[in-house]
Symmetry: C2
Subunit: 209 residues, 2 copies
């Protein structure tokens, strides 16, 4: 079961691809530019060059599921949020459904289901995540939505919490998000379900069971 | 059958409310601020004060269908496009479905189904319209999506075309969009359907049949 990784060149994407490769889980890393393939090739990870803002349907060939972890990043404006986080996600889900893929695993954000609870500056971003998630929930494609809290660069602990109450904090490391993605990819039984994810004290199996 | 008009204070919204009132079609104009109610009150049009970015679910009480013609307008950035055109529309459709309303009539935009064909500057806006329309199509709520071309301030002709090929141009007056909305509101038989709308030579009944 090969997983297409959209947003592979991002910080979570790279860590996920590396972990998947080490675990013997076949992935295909979708990157925007040819020169981004080197990092993956060095690690024996397959790549496909495709542009999320262009035609990228060829990237899905030979894949059975998708991990979507693309984001326009903190240095771009809401125009790119609209094109990548929203429209890119919706188009990707559309192509995946059309091509008969089996599952779509989305990296969303904690509390994306209620953008108005976010600080005003973050609301447009949360609205984009909200709409992309809502689209996925309504689509016929089986899906898993992961909702990490505030991202840190801490090392992986592979231990999680499912709520701020449980965690006592609102943070999770990108490395732990990558671990949770690998767990989701490896457990096809997870379907049409969503998880808030924070650093914590329980295994992925416990939190995502 | 009372119609809640979201975005009533906009240029299309006002013209639609006025035409509906004259035609004896009950509407409730949703406006953001108390001082905006005067224009409607003078014309005998019911209003409700509610904020599309706040809690506006009370506005739906006593209404059976919705016209959504809210837009953040040309002078705001994509952050407001995300909050109004996208998130406002999706929330409105959600509340309408929850409250068991009968129909949702959306003012979208020509070619919103393919944002990449728009000039680059317009693409984020088109992506927001695309996502809002896609959400409505997937939702259980019966809907009509009107897709006007480039808007002008010309007078109403009440004559339409359904494609650029037919029209020989890409324009439609806001007054004609208001006429088409009235036609849609008055014809409950229109359900789960969408129309490109331009100024033309055919009646609403012909173009939207």
């Amino acid at each position: 079961m090969t997983t297409l990784v959209i947003g592979a060149n991002g910080q979570i994407g790279k860590q996920f691809c590396e972990r998947a490769q080490k675990a013997g889980e076949p992935v295909k890393a979708m990157v925007r530019r040819e020169e981004q393939t080197g990092w993956f090739a060095e690690r024996g990870i397959d790549t496909v060059v495709a542009d999320l803002e262009g035609d990228f349907s060829h990237a899905f060939d030979g894949c059975e599921q998708v991990v979507f972890t693309a984001g326009s990043g903190p240095d771009t404006g809401p125009d790119k949020t609209l094109m990548i986080d929203l429209y890119g996600a919706i188009r990707a889900a559309g192509i995946a459904a059309e091509k008969g893929l089996k599952r779509f695993i989305m990296v969303s954000a904690m509390r994306a289901e209620d953008p108005m609870t976010a600080p005003e500056k973050l609301r447009p971003y949360m609205a984009a995540k909200f709409a992309a998630d809502a689209h996925l929930r309504l689509s016929p494609l089986p899906h898993v939505i992961l909702k990490p809290g505030r991202l840190s660069d801490d090392a992986a602990t592979e231990l999680f919490a499912a709520s701020v109450d449980e965690a006592g904090d609102n943070r999770i490391s990108r490395a732990n998000v990558a671990c949770a993605l690998l767990y989701a990819v490896q457990h096809a039984v997870l379907e049409n379900t969503e998880f808030t994810l924070l650093d914590g004290t329980r295994s992925a199996a416990e939190v995502m069971a």
